[in-house]
């Protein structure tokens, strides 16, 4: 599937939505008082960064970097596989960090019976 050559609109859509995702996530992580909301914010930031990274690797008219039998003889232009490999790693790492964060939230709930940071003494700053 080819995205066409409306590069300006595509730039604004992909970069714009990625940057806005980062900002929305940042807002949630910094302003919200619920620990779960904060973790949601962090994972939204991660999503934005991943979108940004994949967009950077895109090449106009490129195909997916897979030499399937259909394309191998045509010597096609391919998008950059490196950012994709990096994002693959980053997604898995992000999941691991989210899992640990949520485990900590459950632990904090056990002790405090709340996930609101205003009521958890040491988390205020």
């Amino acid at each position: 599937m080819n995205l066409g050559n409306n590069l300006d609109i595509l730039t604004i859509t992909f970069y714009g939505s990625a940057i806005l995702l980062i900002l929305i996530g940042l807002y949630a992580a910094l302003v919200k008082r619920s620990l779960i909301k904060i973790v949601i914010g962090l994972s939204i930031i991660d999503s934005g960064v991943h979108l940004l990274l994949v967009s950077i690797g895109y090449l106009q008219g490129g195909t997916a970097p897979i030499f399937s039998p259909a394309v191998i003889d045509k010597n096609p232009v391919m998008v950059d596989p490196v950012p994709q490999a990096l994002v693959l790693t980053a997604i898995v790492i992000g999941f691991a960090v989210t899992a640990v964060a949520l485990a900590l939230v459950i632990r904090l709930y056990r002790h405090h019976k709340t996930v609101n940071i205003d009521e958890i003494k040491n988390l205020k700053w």
């Binding site: 992580a29 991660d46 960064v49 990274l53 990096l86 960090v97 640990v100 964060a101 002790h111 988390l123």
Partner: protein
């Protein structure tokens, strides 16, 4: 040569994957394995270091692709020295935590295995950060370090540990996002992830990218290295984590963070003004942290702030630049690892059963626990820089370096901050020896192996104090290796596929 640098990473990973199975065979193996691995790695690392000092860097390719195509590990006198130091501290921490009461105090065997696994990986991740020559690989190792550090901080089942760990994780997530953005900017412009290649091509970068990447990197790594506004996690994490882990944070983790900052500034980007920036940030970090330390009434928080202050001093020394500044900074890092390690290790036995670890609970403990108190006092004297202990020489080196560069203001500031340091450390020593004991908190005798690890550190402090030459030779080589950027680039990039 006995082995290659990649074994420093591969063997602990092998052991980590094996440990759950070993535990099924014989439970004691879980406690012993990390120690055996660390001993072997230390042996390997010392051998490699002595080889490197004579013959120059070892650049190891991974997966058979020469730099800049593949990932590579660089074992230079500089990175090798730090890796050896980290492995040594790791071994000491392992000896200390072997059958450490508070870790073993479970009716179940599960947490023990997790503790040793996480501790071993904490050391390995730090070694990986120091050795790697690739920025994305650096990111992966920083994430490994992060996960282990969160797990270890929340290890005790009290509530404060989880709070400290969440705080750490929150700040750490921002750090990883910023790192990823910086890597992205560099890759989009230079099309490479290899450090030497980036250093070579950095001149082609437009200033906006260069500066933004550098700023993103500095903020992200400043979190690990406890730079000033980003160190909110440190005092909590230090005081809530199990005692040996606190020592590992001070001796190993912070070093890894500092290393990356230094590597970035000295090798990757030569943006004007970063050295001055380092000096300013270092000074600010140092002054604020030392003032925070003097107002603490809990032992571990005081030690944590003092540790941040020392890191500030190291940044100042690196900011002075030149051979002397780098030498002084490395010497400080070495001393800080050993001495702060001893302070954490011995201090935690002094306030073992106390709940809040107030300083007032140290009163008169010198008569009850003479040897531990003596070691604590020894470390306290060493860290404030009294002759003839190890700390004296490093502080002297910083002051000489600053004075030689004509930065008299800095000399004055360092000296006055040192006075604060002297005040609060002597206050503690005074409490230990000359104030009458009032609390009835129970006393815990150190286990023999904990005593052994503390004595080794104490012996090193005294030995380096009387014969600083044993360490300065290596340090000079290491600082020369760091400053020689061109050889670094050439040696890494001249590797070919064999």
């Amino acid at each position: 040569m006995v082995g290659t640098p990649v074994q420093l990473i591969a063997i602990p990973l092998l052991a980590a994957f094996l440990m759950p199975l070993l535990g099924k065979a014989w439970k004691e193996l879980v406690r012993i394995t990390p120690g055996v691995v660390l001993v072997y790695l230390l042996y390997l690392s010392v051998n490699l270091l002595s080889y490197t000092i004579d013959n120059g860097r070892i650049v190891e390719m991974i997966a058979g692709w020469s730099p800049p195509w593949g990932i590579n590990l660089v074992f230079s006198p500089f990175s090798g020295f730090l890796a050896t130091l980290m492995l040594f501290m790791g071994l000491i921490v392992w000896i200390y935590s072997y059958r450490f009461k508070k870790i073993e105090d479970y009716d179940d065997y599960e947490p023990t295995i997790k503790y040793y696994l996480l501790l071993m990986m904490l050391i390995t991740a730090s070694v990986g950060i120091v050795l790697t020559g690739d920025i994305f690989n650096l990111f992966v190792f920083i994430e490994i370090l992060g996960i282990t550090a969160y797990g270890l901080t929340a290890f005790y089942r009290g509530r404060d540990g989880a709070e400290a760990a969440f705080k750490y994780l929150f700040i750490g997530s921002f750090s990883s996002v910023l790192l990823l953005l910086a890597i992205m900017i560099i890759y989009s412009q230079l099309g490479t992830l290899n450090m030497a290649d980036i250093a070579q091509k950095a001149g082609e970068l437009k200033p906006v990218y260069k500066i933004s990447a550098l700023v993103l990197f500095l903020v992200a790594l400043g979190i690990e290295a406890e730079m000033f506004p980003l160190n909110g996690w440190a005092p909590d994490a230090y005081s809530q984590a199990p005692a040996p882990v606190g020592a590992a944070f001070a001796g190993v983790v912070v070093k890894a963070g500092l290393y990356t900052i230094i590597r970035l500034i000295y090798t990757l980007f030569d943006v004007g003004g970063t050295y001055e920036y380092l000096i300013v940030m270092g000074m600010v970090t140092m002054v604020i942290a030392e003032f925070a330390a003097i107002s603490q009434n809990r032992l571990k928080r005081m030690l944590a702030y003092s540790s941040i202050g020392q890191m500030g001093l190291v940044l100042v020394a690196f900011g002075i630049g030149k051979e002397e500044g780098v030498f002084a900074a490395l010497f400080l890092m070495f001393n800080h690892a050993i001495i702060k390690g001893l302070l954490f290790l011995s201090g935690s036995y002094l306030v073992y059963h106390s709940k809040d670890k107030y300083l007032s609970e140290l009163n008169g403990i010198g008569k009850i626990m003479p040897l531990t108190s003596f070691l604590f006092a020894l470390a306290a004297f060493a860290i404030v820089g009294f002759p003839p202990f190890a700390g004296f020489w490093s502080k002297l080196a910083v002051l000489t370096a600053a004075a030689d560069s004509g930065m008299l203001l800095i000399v004055g500031l360092i000296l006055s901050v040192s006075v604060i340091e002297v005040v609060y450390y002597l206050r503690v020593v005074n409490r230990i020896y000359f104030v009458k004991r009032e609390t009835d908190v129970e006393i815990q005798k150190p286990t023999p192996q904990a005593m052994l690890s503390m004595l080794v550190l104490g012996a090193i402090i005294i030995a380096v104090g009387f014969y600083p030459d044993v360490i300065t030779g290596i340090l000079h080589k290491a600082s020369a290796a760091l400053l020689d950027k061109t050889t670094y680039i050439n040696e890494v990039l001249s590797q070919t596929i064999n």
